[in-house]
Structure formats: structure tokens, C-alpha cells
């Protein structure tokens, strides 16, 4: 099974600057995530994609990194996006040190064992993901009542928005998750 419906490149095809951003990710993970290989023939889009991702997922935020991955998994599952559910499900398992949480959120976030605050966050994110036209002041108010400030709300919304883009790219490409993502973080913790 090819990893994308379209042309796939190798890191060697990339301009130096871009290659130098992806190599450390690949080293840390032990593999190059297929999403990068699938965008190599469009370096300016790949660069913007990396920048946007970093701006949202690496910044200091009122949301923990695990919470940000929860948003990705819940909204990607709502969009039935294989690559994002499997890859970010793996990252969520690692970040949360919980071997079951990704499958629980991907199957049905409403029944997942998250905090009340996280439940409000995922309710908002999945509705913004699937029916953005319905979002209004009352929804923002509910986030504020759950303790989120303006910066947090922006993060919830922009992560949801960015993966609205990613999910559509992955579906367009029929992008395949690396085999490693399926198993990563699945060992129940002994502690």
C-alpha cells in the first residue's frame, strides 16, 4: 500500500533548511512520519504546515500537551481521518501516559474518562470541527465558565482549525500512518 495517492519524496529532495527541521523529529521518533514524505514535493506548503503546527502545538499554553492531543484525536475521529487518529492517538498515549485514552476518545469522547473541564473543551472542539456555523457567544461563554481564558479558547479553536486542514489533506492523499504509530504507547504502565 503506497503511503499517499500522490507523489512521495525523500528527505534528500528537500531544501536544507526544511530537511534540518525534520531530521531531529525523525531521530527522536526513530522514523520519518509519512505526512512529511507526502508533502516534500510542495516545500512551501510543507514549511507553512510545520510552522503552523509548531506555533500551536509547541507554544506555552494554558492547555497541556496531552490536552492539545485530545483535541486532535477527538476532532480527527469526528472526521474519520485514519492518519491523524492513529498518529496523534499514539502521541496522546505517550503524552498522557495512558494506554487506553486514545481509543476511548477516538471511539466516543463523550464516554471517555476526562475531567469536566476537558469535556467542555472537547464538546466545543468537535462542534467547531463539524458544524462551525453553529458556534456563537454562548459557546464561548461556556468555555469561560469552565475556566478557559481568551488565550486558551484561541488555542482550542486554532488547533481544531489546523486539524480541519490536516484531516482534509490526509483524506485527499489517502495518507497511511507509519506502522510504528499503531503500537506506540500501548503498554499499560506498571506504576
Amino acid at each position: 500500500m503506497p503511503i499517499s495517492r500522490f507523489t512521495v519524496g525523500t528527505l534528500a529532495d528537500l531544501p536544507d533548511e526544511l530537511r534540518r527541521r525534520i531530521e531531529p523529529i525523525a531521530e527522536r521518533s526513530g522514523f520519518v512520519p509519512n505526512v512529511f514524505l507526502s508533502m516534500i514535493h510542495r516545500p512551501s506548503e510543507l514549511a507553512a504546515f510545520l510552522d503552523y503546527h509548531e506555533a500551536l502545538m509547541e507554544r506555552d499554553s494554558g492547555l497541556t500537551k496531552a490536552e492539545r492531543e485530545m483535541i486532535v484525536v477527538a476532532t480527527s475521529a469526528a472526521n474519520e481521518c485514519l492518519y491523524c487518529v492513529v498518529a496523534h492517538g499514539a502521541i496522546l498515549r505517550v503524552r498522557s501516559r495512558d494506554s487506553e485514552i486514545a481509543d476511548r476518545i477516538a471511539t466516543n469522547w463523550r464516554t471517555a474518562p476526562v475531567t469536566d473541564r476537558q469535556r467542555v473543551m472537547l464538546d466545543f472542539a468537535t462542534r467547531l470541527a463539524r458544524s462551525p456555523e453553529d458556534i456563537g457567544e454562548a459557546d464561548i461563554e461556556r468555555l469561560r465558565e469552565a475556566g478557559f481564558d481568551d488565550d486558551d479558547i484561541w488555542d482550542i479553536g486554532s488547533i481544531t482549525g489546523f486539524f480541519a486542514l490536516s484531516n482534509r489533506m490526509a483524506q485527499l492523499l489517502d495518507l497511511q500512518p507509519n506502522a510504528e504509530f499503531f503500537v506506540m504507547g500501548r503498554q499499560p504502565r506498571s506504576d
Copy 2:
């Protein structure tokens, strides 16, 4: 009516490099589109947003610039996004030199007077926008039969994806279109 639900900046707040990218746009249009002002407090996101937009909307493509704006208007209307429908409706009127086309596509792209090829394109784009989970090889095949090559298909999909992100940001922010967008390009052409 404030232009955004959240903090709004001025160009003066921006790092030089970013300001120098927006100023020429503002000069050409005669005003600073509100989307930029709304993202000024998040310069790294704004930079990635500009880069991504440019990579898709300014590149040499098998799609004309008017066709790309058709995709934006049709998918943003499907998401009922005020800012994107009004702002990109204006750009579509200018790019296509057609004072009615934006209202026609925004109201119902199926009944709009577009070519058969554009109809296939808009059918694909609006379905990718609203139900990405259903997109598969048969849809790609239909695009190919309508004469689109892999690069064109990528463009249709990635523009749809990028505005899936933009629409959600605009809805999150309750972003208001500049007054100029409502009237731009509405004079029927005399020729």
C-alpha cells in the same frame, strides 16, 4: 461592532518582517483586511497563515485565480462563514470580472453558471469541506475525468483544507468583514 471577539492589534505591533508583508496588501486594497488585525497578537500563527495562503493562492496552478476563489466562496458558504464569504466573494468578483457570480455561488453553487469542469471541482470541494470522511478514489477519478491532473487536485483539496481552517478561525473570532468588501466589484461591467 468590534471586528473580533478577541484582542485586535495594529500593524505597528508587528515585527518588521511581517509588517512589510501586509503593508503592500493594504496599499493595493486601500485598507487592512480585518483578518490580519485579528491575528496580530499571535505573530507566528499570522506568519504561517500568510505563508500557507500565499503557497496556495499565488502559485502557478492549473486553476485560475478566479477558480481558486470559487472554491473559497463555495466551501465558506457551506460553512456559513461571514468573513470568508464576503471578503473572498469580493475578490472573486474582481478576479472573474463578474458582478453576480459570488452571490450565485455563495447562495447555491449547484445552480451557478459555471463550466462543467468547475462544477465537478465545486462538487468535490464542498463535499471535502463538509464530509471529508466520504472522499475516496472514485471522487479523485471523477476529477481526473474532468481534466484535472494530480497537481490541480492537490490544489483543490489544499485550498479547501486551508479555508476549513480559516472558516473556523473566523467563526471562533466572530470576525467582521471590512465594509469595503461588501461593495467591491459589484458594478456590472459595461463591456
Copy 3:
């Protein structure tokens, strides 16, 4: 582009009585709205259509004429009806002396700058338009709490109902709006 998928008549084809009702409308507007031309070959339906329209839109009512047009634009947009959105969008701009309101309501009434009372009215009307089966006593109660009396509620419902009919006729006919409707009332007011 023909104005209808089916036979189109001229005013001369009409029985005197009907022609004498449409001529003054045409004189006031400066053109004969295409909806009339499209129904000329069915004079008894056209007569009933005119009577029903007049009974709802011209009567003394607790709703202003602009409010009645808001209902038409919001519900017709929910049905993606080109003719009704463009023609009644024009009338709404004229009646409300607001050059932006029609585009705002047509794109997404939820984010439009209307009063709280009007928001309750449009929420009810668009739900009655799209999922009448869900309407019940609680919805009527909400209208009453917003200050609408029985006669107002009847008007909101019957205008919604009448344009449920009109929207379907326009879609059936592929009815084209007159060019004049696209531009009418778009000049921002100087006062």
C-alpha cells in the same frame, strides 16, 4: 441563461385583472420580477400566489416589513434558494436602509447584528423552515417570552411557510433573479 426551466410568458398573456395587479409593481420597480413571468402560463396559481403574498407581506402586523423580509432571507438562505435570497435580499436592503444586512443574514443569521427579539424570531423561522417536525409548545413559549403575541407568531410561521413553497417553486424552475436585484440598495447610506 433563460429565466426559468419551463415556459415563460409576457404580461400580455395575462387576463386583464391579473395584469392590472402586476403592472403597478413593475412600474414601481422599473422591471417585471421574473417570478411573475415564470407563472404566467398558470394564471390561477399566479393569482393565488399574489393573494397569499399580499395577505402576509402587506397586512398590518406586529412585525415590521423589514422584519418580514429578514424571515424570508434567512429561511430562503437555509434552503439555498437563489431567486428568493437575491430578490428579497434587495427588498430587505431597501426596507431596512442597511446595505449589509441581507448578506449578513443570508450567510449566517446567527452572527448577524439583529436585536434579541429578532434573533428569537429567526431561530424559530429557520427551524420551522428546515425541521418543522421538531417545533412544539416550548418554541411557541420562547416566542411569547420575546414579546410576540399570537398574531405575530402566526405571521412568523405563515411567512416561513409561504416561502417554503416559493423556495421550492424557484428551485424547481431554476428561476433566475432579475439583474436589478443584485445591485438594489447596496449603496451604503451617507447619513
Copy 4:
């Protein structure tokens, strides 16, 4: 249970001309259908309603009267409209001399024992009733291939449209069917 949520009149309240139209209907049926009583306080709407109904349901048409009632029952069931399903279900039983057809069409027209031509007609009508925005040339073409001419297609569409209006009025009013409608035409025919 009152027959309407709003004011109900008696025939005596009506202007002579209107009363003289309803009395023979009441005599033929043996009762005054509640829909008339519910509109008596709005005589100009009632008159337009009667005119429109007559123009569609009594005219010479390529559709039999039973076929027209099939459209009413199928689309009213799609809208879950109690009054119209029960009242026009009764009329369909009488017109078609079939004691089961109304329940079959109301529950699921797709599994009802109708001709292929009627199946195309009901498929079109129910889609026009529920998602008019999707109707286009291909749908009209399918009706033509099934043997319907332009006049028939107009009838299918306008009956659907008129009951889109009626269904919403009945739901708005919480209009109750006369008890007679529940039992009319239910005796299986001996021949």
C-alpha cells in the same frame, strides 16, 4: 384537546363568499375539516389557501387525483405532519380505493407497492420537500425519462411546495385531524 393552538372560528364568522365555498365540502364529507376552522380568523389567507389548493388539486393534470394525494402523504410524512398525513391519508384511501396504501406510503414510501413511474415521482417529491437545495437538471431529466412532461413536473413540484406550506402551518398550529379522517376508507374492498 383543542383543534388548534390559536383562535378557532365557526363558519358563521366567514364572509358569505368564503362560507359558500366551504359549505359544500363540509356537506360532502359530513364534517368541516379542522384546517378551515383554524384559518377562519384570517379570511384573506384562507381564501388564498383555498384558491391555491383548488388550482393544484382540482385541475386537469397528467397526474391522477390519487397520485396527487400520494405526493401529499409522502411529503407530509417526511415532515411528520399529523394533520396532513391523517387527513390526506384518508383522501388517498378513498381516491385509490386501497385501504392500506396510505399507511404504507406514510411509513416508508420506498417500500410501498407503487408503479415505477410513481416511485420516481415520490423520490423527487420527498427530496424537493426535505432538501430543495439539491434539486437540479439531472432530477428533472429523471422525471422526463419516467414519462412526465413539463406540466406534470410542475404539478409534482407545486403540490410538494404547497404542502411544504401546509405542513408548516399545521405544525405551527398543532392542528388536530377530525376524528373521521382516522377511519375513512379503511374497510378493505370486497371486490
Copy 5:
């Protein structure tokens, strides 16, 4: 019209034990309900079906037998299942001694004259029938507030679940209701 799309058996084809369970039902009704004939060629499924049905519909329960049939009719109507709406509509008329209630609930349970407690029950059952993914603790809480205990809630849910199965079997088979079901219990009561 055959009663099923697939093989239909006769009681004589059944193992003795199963035949002895169905014969008394047939005697009481005066006919063998078609659902049994349609499953005769799968005796182990038929036996499980009968057992499950009996365990839910015959047990002592906080729900009356009429209330249980209300659940069947409302959820089967939501699934547009001809056999179950017609057959259980008949049983509901008999159990409730009300000749109109089945048509009222089948057309639109929201406007049917049921108690507040029954309304909460039908709201829950129809949502569990159509979108089980949305059901959560808040819904259970609402049932409890309406006076249902854990056993009642289980009954409401399991009857809904069992007819989710039955409706799909009937639709798969294109199962036809016996003619008797259409007329049973339709005589308005004189007392």
C-alpha cells in the same frame, strides 16, 4: 406481493418445541404473524428472537404493556419500518384501547397526547434509536427525574435496542405486515 424477500416457511417446517410456542399466538390472533413465517428457515435465530421478545415484552415491569408498545411504535416509525409500525401499531391500539394513538405516535410522537412521563420516555427511546452515540448520564438523569427507576430505564433501553434489531431485519427482508394488522383496533370505542 411475497411476504419476504427471502425463503418463507410454514409452521410444519418447525421443530416441535418452536411450533408449540407459535401456535397459541396464532390461535389468539387468528393468523400467524408474518415475522414468524419469515424466520422459520433459521430456527435457532427464531428461538432466540422469541425468547428475547418474551423476556422484554411479557415481564413484570414498571412500564405498562401499552407503554412498551409506544416505544416500539415511536422508534420503528423513526426507522420507517413498515412491518413494525403496522403490526405493533395494531397491538398498541388494542393494549391502550385507543384507536388513534398509534397513528399519532407513528406520525410524530412529539405532538401525540401522552403523559409528561411518557413524553420523556419517548424522547429518550427515539434518540437512543437514532443516535445512540449521544446518550449519556444527563439523559439517564432526566429519566430518573420523570420517575423511572433503574429497572424501568433498562426496559426502555432494551426494548428500543431489540426493535433496532427487528426493524433492520424487517427492512432487510422487505417484510410485509399481515392484512389483519392494518385494521385491528381501529373501531373508536363507544364507552
Copy 6:
């Protein structure tokens, strides 16, 4: 986290006959699947549930056991049912000796690497699961063209129907999968 919202029993609470059916399952798996514990207080329902399950999942069939589990996983994912997706996902991994297939089908069966015949099967099953009202002769025809005979079609439909019931019970109970199910069969095969 309790395994059910309602009373949970132990095997010791069961009548001998039922306990003797569950014990070997528990021995083979190394644990008692929670679904059994959750139904112990309703032994007649549990017995019917076991019988029905066995009649469908253990019989000789034109569908392999892995294919039957594919139906369960795809339809349970469409219903977002945690217990069934996780438990039957595990069984599918074991039955198919494929560590990825369950996650692929659960996330989006359309993009899963199944045969054309299986794709037709899953398309039918998921539509029967979510909108049974739309299923008709054309769908049955498509299954036949893909090589399924009447017995196979019955199996596809009845498995879908049975898990329509199971999914609703699991959602009603908030039934929790045993921890073992999350990890079972996840080791990629070395051959």
C-alpha cells in the same frame, strides 16, 4: 470506573445452565467479558443474548469469522460504541491475524485495505446500521453482484441488526471494555 451504570453481578449469581455457558468463554479468554457481568441480573435476557450471538457468530456461513467481526467493528464504530469497538476490535485482530485492521476499520472503513467484496459488504452493513429506511432492492442486488447469496445477505443483515441492539445496550449501560481487549492481538506478526 464501574463497568456498568447499573447493577453488576458475578458468575455465582447465575443459574447453573447459564454459568456453564460462560465459564468456558472466560477460561479461553482468561477473563469474563464485562458484557456478561452486566447482564447477570437479567438472566432470561442474557440467555437470549447468548443464543442470538451464537446463532449468528458461530454458525457455518459464507462469511468468514473475521468478516463477521469486520461487520461488528464497522457498524459499532458508526454508532461510536466503545465496548463493541474495543472488544470486537480485539477479536477481529485475533481472527484476521492482522494487528492494524481493527483500528483501520473503526476509524474509517472506506479507506481500510479490504477486498472489493468486503467493501460492498461493509457499505451495506453501515448503511443498514445508520439509515435502515433507505435499504431496498437495489442494495440487495449490489450484494448479489458481489457474490453474496441469500444466506450470506441474511447473515450480513442479522449481524448488523444484532449489534444495533448490542451497541444500544452498551451505550445505555456505559459498559466498560475489559482492559485485556485494548491490547489483545496488537503484536504485529513476524511472518
